[in-house]
């Protein structure tokens, strides 16, 4: 019996891996007649889509409209003299990204360098104006320095990087808005002048930042033992999640002035921010609730056993763990919000999509619909894709779901 089962290496040679192109193609594309049919179908689809797109790109597309309106698309009517603030925000962002990449991301160093030097590539584009080119170069250099510092730095740098991220978003809002009188060194800019990609980002950042405390409170409220608080939280969350964002934005734009004492009329940007914050708070609350549920019961019991009060248990034991779990989810929410801010176009704000539409409304640009939409799609797409990639990396780095 046993002699039959013994397998000598000579009887069963290892399968020959055909690593060449033909072998690969055979295995993946032509293994059966059905597979071959699918391959033919796919090739047909690729041809049917690529050919008109390439023809359009090579022959018909004229991106002059983007080049002429680039500043509008990026920052709207933000005062030209104050543009350095936007660049400063970008510089700080690159510092944060570079530091974090150097510190936490272990294997994909090369990709990080590519990411950081992306401004360099942009600077080499022929259509960029020379001051912008200079600023882009500075951006790349700062990013590289931060990346190097992150690689060399120790534990204290790690803490600094975390607090830098936390501080970054409020700082951006203060920087862009300014707080001194017109003759001061950082004059307040009129929010009506905010526009383009800048406004898109500001709306997203404000939305996440202000909905965060509300969302955490709502999540805690929903898990509360007190029926009144739980009921109100559930009602708020379900109502907001049950209606489209457009209706909430619309309500914010038309009804906020009605709710306030007569005479006070907050500007449209502020109203949109209120709407977005109220909206994303409900979604954030559900995510936080997910995080809270993922913290095991034993943690509560251990905290109680140590004599911590209910508040201390939440603030010191449960919330830190829950929030750590949901960081990747938060990035996902940020991406969703980033895309959803395009809806403020419907109430007449000039963020990236809104300003593109107002550019396209000018008679000389009316025939460039495709070019402009392709351009802004590219911006939306690459930024969201980048962020979702980062969130996947984060998930790995934080070891979510891994104990």
């Amino acid at each position: 019996m046993t002699s039959e089962l013994t397998i000598t290496p000579r009887d069963l040679p290892p399968p020959i891996e055909r690593r060449n192109l033909i072998g690969w193609a055979y295995k993946n594309l032509f293994s059966t007649w059905f597979n071959t049919l699918l391959t033919a179908l796919a090739l047909g689809v690729i041809y049917a889509f690529t050919k008109p797109i390439l023809t359009w790109l090579v022959d018909q597309a004229n991106f002059e409209v983007v080049k002429v309106n680039l500043r509008l698309l990026m920052t709207g009517q933000y005062p030209r003299a104050e543009l350095w603030r936007v660049w400063l925000c970008l510089d700080l962002l690159v510092v944060n990204i570079g530091l974090s990449w150097g510190i936490w991301v272990k294997r994909r160093r090369a990709l990080g360098v590519v990411l950081i030097t992306a401004p360099l590539a942009l600077a080499l584009l022929p259509t960029i104006s020379s001051p912008a080119r200079r600023d882009l170069l500075i951006l790349a250099i700062i990013g590289l320095i931060a990346f190097g510092a992150g690689r060399l730095g120790g534990l204290s740098l790690r803490r600094m990087a975390i607090s830098a991220w936390v501080l970054y978003f409020p700082l951006v809002i203060i920087l862009i808005r300014g707080f001194t009188a017109p003759e001061g060194w950082l004059p307040v800019t009129n929010t009506n002048l905010w526009g383009g990609l800048l406004l898109t980002f500001l709306l997203t950042i404000v939305g996440i930042l202000f909905s965060f405390p509300i969302g955490v409170l709502l999540a805690l409220g929903r898990r509360s033992q007190l029926p009144a608080i739980r009921g109100v939280s559930i009602f708020y969350i379900e109502v907001i999640r049950g209606v489209p964002l457009v209706t909430i934005l619309f309500m914010a734009s038309t009804m906020v002035p009605l709710f306030l004492p007569s005479g006070s009329r907050p500007n449209l940007v502020l109203r949109a921010m209120v709407g977005i914050t109220l909206f994303s708070a409900a979604y954030l609350a559900e995510n936080v609730r997910g995080g809270l549920q993922a913290v095991s019961q034993g943690q509560y019991e251990a905290a109680h056993a140590l004599g911590l009060s209910g508040f201390q248990t939440m603030a010191l034991i449960i919330l830190p763990q829950a929030l750590r779990i949901i960081i990747p989810v938060l990035v996902g929410l940020f991406i969703a919000l980033f895309k959803d801010t395009s809806l403020v176009t419907t109430i007449g704000l000039l963020e990236l999509l809104g300003i593109s539409r107002s550019v396209l409304a000018q008679p000389q640009f009316v025939s460039f619909q495709r070019e402009v939409y392709v351009f802004i799609s590219l911006i939306y797409w690459s930024l969201s894709y980048l962020m979702s990639y980062v969130s996947q990396r984060l998930e790995v780095a934080l070891g979510v779901g891994v104990r």
């Binding site: 993946n28 594309l29 293994s31 597979n35 699918l38 391959t39 179908l41 796919a42 090739l43 689809v45 690729i46 033992q225 007190l226 029926p227 009144a228 608080i229 109100v232 379900e238 109502v239 999640r241 049950g242 209606v243 489209p244 964002l245 457009v246 209706t247 619309f250 309500m251 038309t254 009804m255 002035p257 009605l258 709710f259 306030l260 004492p261 007569s262 991406i335 895309k339 959803d340 395009s342 809806l343 176009t345 419907t346 999509l353 539409r357 396209l360 619909q369 495709r370 939409y373 392709v374 802004i376 799609s377 939306y380 797409w381 969201s384 894709y385 979702s388």
Partner: protein, 395 residues
């Protein structure tokens, strides 16, 4: 425990440290603050409305609307009421959402399965499709489809004519459509009878299958019976219940058939394509969630590959797929409100017009939000019921 009780009862907890009283007090304070702030907002609102010379109430609904709606599923004129206008909008929303859900589900299934294909090209195509759409805002897609695709189609005179005939122009897309004749009502009764007998047959077959252990193809036989009755009914009636109305170009416009405006087409395709990318991901995750061992076990007990799919894979995958699928359906329905940007008269667009005509901001917004909320709650209630049915029954 029994001995402890009297001792504990003797210990008097002072009122301000009794947890029950504290919690009731806390909730009372919370509710009072909440009510007070809501009342403050309401007071402001009433004062502002008064200042603007506006009242509050739903008495405007039976008034004449005085505006046109381009597309309506039920008859509608300028002289109809605001209420009817809202109804037209709601029906348009339901129409575009349900057709969008149908198309999105088919596309999503297709691409979800394609992402798991062994064929490298098919798999990459599906991946590109999903990644491309997931990272674009829906509104940008809608504007692109509307202004760069459907509006840029050839003019009516140079209409693209597909066999059918289907006419594709920048004024919309027209397909052949049936027009009911005198016998259509009777035919509806016949169809009703068909549905009834198909259900009866299905029940009977299912009962037979449970009795004998040999499962017949319940769905197949029921459907066959239904189609049989439908076909017999079609030919048995003195005149055909429907006559075919083919669309045609008449001068500068399309005539006949069923016409879909470019706004509708842009909205429908945008919603369907966008949501299908998310559904594809849901489907892929659902199929991957079923362990490989399940398929292997099914094959080893002698089930055919079709049976494996129908009896083993799908029931288990559906359990994972249904909850996120529900939220995608709801998203699609809510996203249909983006039609306001391209001008398809669905609920939100119509209520915007009503708001402008009547000036009743608060009421119109309240009505619109309530309708959307009811759609969401009803759908999720139905899906929860379905989810409970397909749920794994654990001991």
């Amino acid at each position: 425990m029994e001995q402890n009780r009297p001792i504990r009862r003797q210990k008097i907890v002072p009122l301000w440290r009794d947890e029950r009283i504290l919690s009731i007090l806390g909730q009372a304070v919370f509710l009072i603050i909440l009510t007070a702030s809501l009342l403050y907002l309401a007071r402001n609102m009433l004062m502002n409305l008064n200042r603007l010379g506006l009242g509050l109430g739903f008495d405007f609904l039976p008034l004449t609307s005085g505006f046109d709606i381009g597309e309506h599923l039920i008859s509608y004129e300028r002289s109809d009421t605001f209420f009817r206008a809202l109804l037209v909008g709601l029906l348009n929303t339901l129409f575009v959402s349900s057709s969008g859900i149908l198309v999105a589900t088919i596309l999503g299934l297709l691409f979800g399965v394609a992402r798991l294909s062994g064929n490298y090209l098919i798999q990459s195509l599906a991946r590109i499709y999903v990644e491309l759409l997931r990272n674009l805002p829906l509104l940008v897609l809608l504007f692109f489809l509307y202004t760069s695709v459907f509006i840029q189609l050839p003019r009516v005179r140079e209409a693209i004519s597909l066999p059918g005939p289907v006419l594709i122009t920048n004024r919309g897309i027209a397909i052949p459509w049936g027009i009911p004749t005198a016998t259509f009502t009777q035919y509806q009764y016949i169809l009703g009878f068909g549905v009834f007998s198909a259900i009866a047959l299905g029940r009977g077959l299912a009962w037979y299958g449970e009795r004998t252990g040999r499962a017949p193809l319940v769905w197949l036989w029921s459907l066959l019976l239904f189609f049989l009755i439908a076909t017999i009914g079609w030919f048995i009636l003195p005149t055909r219940p429907l006559t075919l109305d083919a669309p045609a170009v008449q001068g500068l416009r399309l005539a006949g058939g069923r016409q879909f405006s470019p706004e509708f087409m842009a909205l429908l395709s945008g919603l369907a394509i966008y949501t299908s990318a998310f559904i594809a991901d849901v489907v892929r995750a659902g199929i991957q969630a079923v362990g490989r061992g399940q398929v292997e076990a099914a094959r080893s007990v002698g089930l055919s590959s079709m049976q494996t799919l129908r009896l083993i894979l799908l029931p288990q995958a559906l359990r994972v797929i249904v909850p996120p699928l529900t939220s995608q359906y709801l998203n699609l329905t809510k996203n249909s409100s983006l039609a306001v940007a391209i001008g398809y008269p669905e609920l939100f667009h119509v209520s915007g017009t009503i708001l402008n005509q009547s000036g009743r901001t608060v009421e119109v917004i309240a009505i619109t939000m309530t309708i959307y909320l009811s759609i969401s709650l009803l759908t999720s209630a139905f899906m929860n019921w379905y989810n409970r049915r397909v749920r794994l029954v654990e001991r």
